[in-house]
């Protein structure tokens, strides 16, 4: 009944989803915290460089292109574009290493 050889769907079946299709509420909360943390790191680096008076291309580009956590739509926070999925959106947690990579932009119109 229990243990590694229990007869459950994902273990015995062939193609069964093991990753839920949407994020749970605490997962979404922690994801927002991570987004805010990255925003904070970029802001700190930017403030230090402002005092130095020497801009860095990576920082300038990030500021110009990337929305902050507060500016992002819920759609872009929790889902991402995928051409293979119906309606072209999948949960962001399907992205490999999704807690340690930045995925904020999606193709316009999708």
């Amino acid at each position: 009944m229990f243990g590694a050889f229990r007869p459950s769907g994902p273990l015995f079946g062939g193609l069964l989803w093991k990753i839920p299709y949407r994020l749970s509420r605490p997962q979404k909360y922690r994801h927002r915290q991570r987004l805010k943390h990255v925003d904070k790191v970029v802001a700190t680096v930017d403030a230090a460089l402002q005092k130095l008076g020497k801009p860095v291309a990576a920082v300038e580009r990030w500021k110009e292109e990337m929305p902050t956590e507060a500016e992002m739509l819920a759609k872009d926070k929790y889902t991402m574009f995928d051409k293979k999925v119906k309606k072209y959106r999948k949960g962001i947690h399907k992205l490999p290493k999704w807690t340690r990579v930045s995925q904020r932009l999606n193709p316009p119109g999708f």
């Binding site: 700190t44 680096v45 230090a48 005092k51 130095l52 860095v56 340690r100």
Partner: protein
């Protein structure tokens, strides 16, 4: 001169190899390690490459490992009585 205080919060295990190389060049070998790097353009670029993994603060002066350890040490809640005389000496 200002410094970045950089702490490695998330490991680079399983991420692309170059990310680990950036951490190594910053002097971050394991999680929760803290290093101080001067505020420079190249250091800023490195931080941007690993911004999801690190925590960054701008500080005036780097601390040594011993000083950081002393800051983390809790207040013992007592003092040795024989030194109390010097401690409360108000004659000077």
């Amino acid at each position: 001169m200002a410094y970045f205080k950089i702490t490695l919060m998330r490991s680079a295990i399983g991420l692309p190899k170059p990310i680990g190389g950036v951490l190594k060049s910053l002097g971050l070998r394991k999680r929760m390690a803290t290093v101080y790097q001067p505020v420079r353009q190249d250091v800023a670029g490195k931080i941007m490459a690993v911004k999801e993994l690190v925590d960054v603060q701008e500080v005036e002066k780097p601390l040594t490992n011993a000083e950081m350890r002393a800051l983390r040490r809790p207040d013992p809640g007592f003092y040795v009585e024989s030194r109390g005389v010097q401690r409360f000496d108000t004659t000077e």
